[in-house]
């Protein structure tokens, strides 16, 4: 217990750090500048560890990675104007993936607001549509309540980013600090909804009548901490589980009821299963266009039950039969005792047949012909790191989809990736945040050569903070996913997708990071082992096949079952997992 500080007079800057500390935060990610300098000066009185980033976008992704890996609120700090606007991409990323972060920005003095002062930007205006909520603080006596509210709003209900813009004078001037008196006052905020009894009964009725049900497992399971409940539910009712990209890890990959990822690059049998189903149980997912394909033909014969904490998601994309609005874990607790155990072996056998017809994981069986495929790299990385407490942080593009297909995640918070916004440049900084949140975990960045170059300045942050983060660049010399779209839909006109890259190994060495370049499959495992054994950060430049393609693929707007499949089918062997 902290001693009571009622009546103590402190500067706004001092109150800021005191409150952040009391919220349980030990590390913040930031970059100083004029309007936030009073706060930086006050850091010397705080136990908080500040991690100096190289670009404010990095700070937001780090806070995001910290939140997703550690299940707690991440904090990013920046100055006014350009410092604040550099945060925009990271805030939007956290918004679309419901990640709880609090961004603190300095603002010009309150008397200068509106005068186009040096480094003045209306950042609350700019971030209004991409934050869950934001604040402008102009008095030291508003700091404590605002920070408490910001943390509460960020982490409760459907989590999201909250920005607090604090004027320079609000940081410099003093106010009485009283933690208890600064309780959040949010009369309009209701994060704690729960379904009605009638809705539970309707849901149970649909579940018990269904012969071909599928659970669609989303990010909400991980946020709600409902992994065990989902597992109990699936096992008791005998219902198979399909995962969204952000749902990966919410249900163990090795579980017999696990189907794998659904959607645009989901495994073919998963998409077919959804199309054949008579009941979809959506658990903390939002029917994103990347998982539904064409809505008109989506799961045409299925009733839908949607368990979701955000009422605004109900009937947004897909019309549902029974909405259960509330915290997933609590809702499943209510449902579980009433769920009857039903033999669904007929349905599961049918899915097995669909599975037999598919060969999404075919590429790992390609003979070692001197070519290096990204799938080889990811599959080998999985074999080597599967037993540990490993966190894979990916960027966006082909490598991200291959990771989702070839790395089998058994645990929640073991894959961190930008799903909703699809932010290139996310991986490296987010991995730093993940490592800071979970220092004991083995953290790997899996990143394309395009996305890596968007935020590679954060290599310096890794070195300065002495963080053991391993980086696997899946280097194909192209903006691979864009190139793939050009291949399929733009007559192979590779406009602006070939990349002229630096020597990534030399680049890493310039930062003092050990590096390797790998061009053959036989070198993959040794390089991964060597990286794991080294006690500092390691970068491996995997030079993979240049024009490889992610299969299967549901073209944008196509029906979920209309997938572009790999032209030459290769049958899986028993030796492959």
């Amino acid at each position: 217990m902290k001693p009571k500080t009622a009546g103590k007079t402190m500067t706004g800057a001092g109150i800021l750090w005191e409150c952040i500390e009391r919220e349980g935060v030990k590390d913040v990610f930031g970059y100083p500048g004029g309007a936030i300098l009073p706060a930086y000066d006050a850091l010397k009185h705080s136990k908080i560890h500040h991690i100096l980033v190289r670009h404010e976008q990095g700070a937001t992704h780090m806070a995001d990675g910290y939140a997703r890996a550690g299940g707690k609120v991440g904090v990013a700090v920046a100055t006014s104007g350009p410092g604040a606007t550099n945060m925009v991409t990271g805030i939007a990323t956290a918004m679309l993936d419901s990640s709880p972060i609090v961004c603190i920005t300095g603002q010009v003095g309150s008397k200068l607001i509106g005068s186009d002062a040096f480094q003045e930007t209306d950042i609350t205006g700019v971030t209004l549509p991409i934050t869950k909520h934001n604040y402008l603080v102009t008095h030291a006596n508003e700091v404590a309540r605002t920070i408490r509210e910001a943390f509460y709003v960020a982490k409760s209900g459907r989590p999201g980013p909250v920005l607090v813009d604090i004027t320079k004078d609000a940081q410099q001037t003093s106010a009485e600090f009283d933690w208890d008196a600064a309780k959040p006052q949010l009369p309009g905020y209701r994060p704690d909804l729960s379904p009605e009894q009638k809705e539970y009964e309707q849901a149970l009725d649909l579940i018990h009548k269904s012969k071909r049900p599928v659970i669609l497992a989303g990010h909400g399971i991980i946020i709600s901490g409902a992994m065990q409940e989902v597992r109990d539910f699936a096992e008791r009712a005998g219902i198979p589980v399909a995962l969204t990209l952000l749902g990966i890890g919410a249900f163990p990959a090795a579980h017999p009821l696990n189907l794998g990822m659904m959607g645009m690059h989901g495994e073919a049998w998963v998409n077919h299963t959804i199309q054949e189903a008579d009941l979809l149980l959506a658990f903390g997912m939002r029917f994103d266009d990347r998982v539904t394909g064409n809505l008109k033909t989506y799961a045409p014969n299925a009733k839908k039950i949607h368990i979701e904490i955000d009422p605004a998601e109900i009937n947004k994309n897909v019309k549902v039969d029974v909405p259960l609005v509330g915290d997933l874990r609590e809702v499943l607790h209510e449902l579980l005792p009433h769920v009857e155990s039903i033999d669904r072996s007929e349905w599961l056998d049918l899915i097995d047949k669909l599975k037999g017809d598919s060969a999404v994981r075919d590429i790992q069986n390609l003979p070692d012909s001197g070519h290096l495929y990204a799938a080889h790299v990811i599959n080998d990385l999985w074999r080597e790191t599967r037993d540990g407490d490993t966190v894979i942080v990916t960027d966006v593009g082909q490598h991200q989809m291959w990771e989702a297909q070839y790395y089998k995640h058994e645990k929640a918070r073991s894959l961190i990736t930008s799903g909703g916004l699809g932010t290139m440049g996310f991986a490296l900084p987010a991995a730093i945040g993940a490592k800071v949140a979970r220092p004991e975990a083995e953290v790997w960045v899996v990143v394309g050569d395009g996305g890596f170059q968007m935020t590679l300045c954060e290599l310096a942050t890794i070195v300065q903070e002495k963080l053991k983060v391993n980086i696997a660049i899946i280097n194909n010399g192209f903006l691979g996913m864009v190139r793939q779209w050009q291949e399929f839909f733009y007559e192979r006109n590779y406009a602006a997708t070939p990349l002229l890259n630096p020597d990534f190994a030399k680049l890493a060495e310039a930062y003092g990071i050990r590096s390797m370049t790998v061009t053959e499959r036989s070198q993959v495992v040794p390089s991964v082992r060597s990286a794991r054994e080294h006690d500092g950060p390691v970068l491996i430049n995997f030079k993979v096949e240049q024009e490889d393609t992610v299969y299967p693929m549901v073209a944008a707007g196509a029906s979920l079952h209309e997938m572009i499949r790999r032209p030459s089918k290769i049958v899986e062997t028993a030796a492959d997992e």
Binding site: L136, P187, G188, Y189, P311, A312
Partner: protein, 182 residues
């Protein structure tokens, strides 16, 4: 169809922007928005009308609730309610036309609030279609200028949506307690 929402919000800077921005962001078009004080200084009341089907209207409501500063949202489209718009219409009224314009205004129970040598300004309060009706018959004389407030709306009878209920939680409405149109 046109939906009418009564929205209680915290009276804080930027709340109007948050509400307006929400409609723009979710691609709903505001037909009319009015905002004003309530009997509690910390609470403002908005009346918003927007074109939306049943499902869209429900999502507008849910999205409004996601705004932290929004206290209470009521879709009163299908509720017995009083809906009023106020307009001031400046009509060209030369000597010969003046008496005709005055007559029309009186038929519509509108008031003349300004008289100038070449014009009359008429104030009218009522449902939107009543104002549209007056406007229609005045147009031949020459409408020089017009301003409308946008609609304000309130449920009839004892079904009270007050700032106090907005702050203290759920609204309780007795379904049979509805007064007649007057």
């Amino acid at each position: 169809m046109m939906n009418t929402f009564v929205v209680y919000v915290e009276n804080k800077p930027g709340v109007l922007t948050r509400v307006a921005s929400l409609f723009r962001r979710r691609a709903f078009n505001i037909d009319s928005l009015t905002v004003g004080r309530t009997e509690k200084p910390e609470v403002s009341r908005m009346t918003i009308t927007a074109e939306a089907d049943h499902d869209q209207a429900r999502r507008i409501e849910a999205n409004l609730y996601k705004l932290v500063n929004v206290l209470l949202v009521e879709n009163i489209t299908h509720e017995p309610s009083i809906v009023r718009d106020l307009a001031m219409i400046k009509v060209a009224a030369t000597h010969e036309a003046r008496s005709h314009v005055l007559e029309l205004a009186s038929v519509f129970r509108a008031r003349v609030v300004d008289v100038a040598p070449d014009s009359l300004t008429i104030e009218i309060t009522g449902a939107e279609d009543k104002i549209d009706g007056l406007l229609e018959v005045l147009r031949p004389y020459g409408v020089l200028e017009m301003v409308r407030t946008g609609i304000v709306a309130m449920r009839r009878g004892k079904n009270t949506i007050s700032p106090a209920t907005a702050i203290n939680g759920e609204l309780e409405i007795a379904e049979d307690d509805v007064s007649q149109s007057v």
